[in-house]
Symmetry: C2
Subunit: 310 residues, 2 copies
């Protein structure tokens, strides 16, 4: 298995506590867990808090399944930046004889990969990816552009790890802004402040930082340095069970990258930029359980009020 | 592409209307669409109606991501019955040089499958699959067993089609019953009646039928005949845009198959059977738009009341 990250002592202990309490359920693979009712309740309430914070945006609500046509991934440059994180979908296209051989090998837990063929689909790597081609397909945008609320979308990252805060598929609570450069940059700036406020009112000390993506390989170091120098990515970090703080939200300015890739245009021909933000809902829930304890009934009154009394 | 099914005239026209109205959004591949606010609102309200119908069950609410360890799929016999429907996840494990070559080929939309390696994960083929190993991992069950509410889970089916009612990933609103054979059989029977009632109160004529799964190949015909003869599967069908009625819910009795496969036990050693039911939420929403029109404001008062006044 690629780059499996073992847990630190604290991470392993936290995961064991979460499973012992039924907040998470063993899923049979690192970073793949079921979620119990109490965990899911917190995750959904955090989702609702983000929706409340998003109300001033008047966003258009759109939802997408966690599948993306492979050719979109091929066109965006994702495979240059993050080849190690992408998940592609393969399927069977063989004969009855092939199916029988595949099944026999699989039943013995041997290698049956030769019977699987690459499909035209991949897993969604970031919740904003399906938004751009869908918006482009509707034609040129009115002046001012638009904001899309893409909800709590499942995204895939090939990062097997025993840290409960590093899941291979998780809910990214996503908003996307598409429009004139100044409007898009201003929107992202305003959200950085809103997001700090959302987290702090939940009793967790969130820090906003200039950040960079986990670009692949040696050339990735320069990409990361450029990204930081241009302040294209901010992250909100909180302390969970890892020695270092964990990113729980990111605010990303793409300049004209996605608009150019997918051909998004404004009616008046003005340049189009995009930005997106994503809250990692499972990570925020984990941060709350870590900060306030595993029994939500015993959480501070002001946190309970913030989450449930709205 | 495997077994692509073109649309009938009515199906193609219905899809075009749905996209024209913004109820669905073009997703770049057959059976992969975004969902607009009005569609999603109906889908969520149908989900809530099923939750209301499920209240007497007192089910334990659990949620799972759409990933399953590959070895579970290998152990269940899914690849014998449905090799053509499964989706496996591949990822990159190569060097920087491989990554560069992969990216160049992908950028030209050429074949880059040789750089992808089978992972230990597959896509969830049915929403009940992650439930059994998770329940087994908690140890023997108390007498009576339990009922699990697995929510509206995304499941994958490799069935590319231009029929808007045939999605490659969709929400299966899933309930699972695990316990003594009589209790499990009785639960499934009661739900068949409840489900007909849920659909009929939404103004769609739903028919309950003995059914069989789309088993693969020639040996599959015998599996299907056995399944029908033993009445292991019932389906609820409604008319959408296809010439034949479309299944929108299924009620499945697995006898001891999953309990044996995953080692689920009762404290007193009694035999354990399982059953599950799944409502196809997108299909039910599509059926409602087909029956009552594309503008929910104009739907019959009693249907609107049923969906929104609760």
């Amino acid at each position: 298995m690629a780059e499996y990250r073992p847990a630190t002592g604290d991470e392993a202990e936290f995961l064991a506590e979460l499973i012992g309490r039924g907040l998470l359920l063993a899923g049979g693979a690192p970073g793949v867990y079921g979620r119990g009712d109490a965990f899911e309740d917190v995750r959904e309430r955090v989702d609702a808090l983000v929706s409340r914070a998003a109300e001033p945006d008047g966003a258009e609500r759109l939802r997408f399944p966690p599948l993306l046509p492979r050719r979109y991934l091929e066109s965006t440059g994702y495979l240059r930046s993050f080849p190690h994180l992408a998940g592609t979908i393969f399927a069977f296209e063989g004969s009855e004889r092939d199916a029988a051989e595949q099944e026999q090998r699989a039943g013995r837990h041997e290698d049956w990969s030769e019977f699987q063929t690459m499909t035209d689909l991949v897993l969604v790597p970031a919740a904003c990816y399906p938004v751009y081609p869908a918006i482009a397909s509707r034609g040129a945008l009115a002046p001012g552009g638009l904001t899309v609320d893409a909800g709590g979308s499942y995204v895939f990252r090939r990062e097997p790890s025993a840290d409960p805060a590093r899941l291979q598929m998780f809910h990214q609570r996503e908003m996307v802004r598409i429009g004139e450069p100044e409007a898009v940059a201003g929107w992202r700036g305003a959200w950085c402040e809103r997001a700090v406020d959302v987290l702090r009112r939940l009793g967790v000390a969130a820090e906003l930082e200039v950040a960079s993506d986990p670009f692949f390989g040696r050339p990735g170091r320069m990409l990361a340095a450029n990204q930081r120098a241009q302040e294209l990515k901010f992250e909100l970090t909180i302390q969970i069970a890892s020695p270092e703080p964990t990113a729980v939200a990111s605010f990303n300015y793409h300049q004209d990258h996605f608009a150019q890739t997918f051909g998004i245009e404004l009616h008046d021909g003005a340049p189009v930029h995009t930005a997106c933000l994503g809250f990692g809902l499972e990570r925020i829930a984990l941060g709350l359980f870590r900060a306030h304890g595993l029994d939500t009934a015993l959480w501070p009154a002001e946190v309970k009020e913030e989450l449930w009394d709205v």
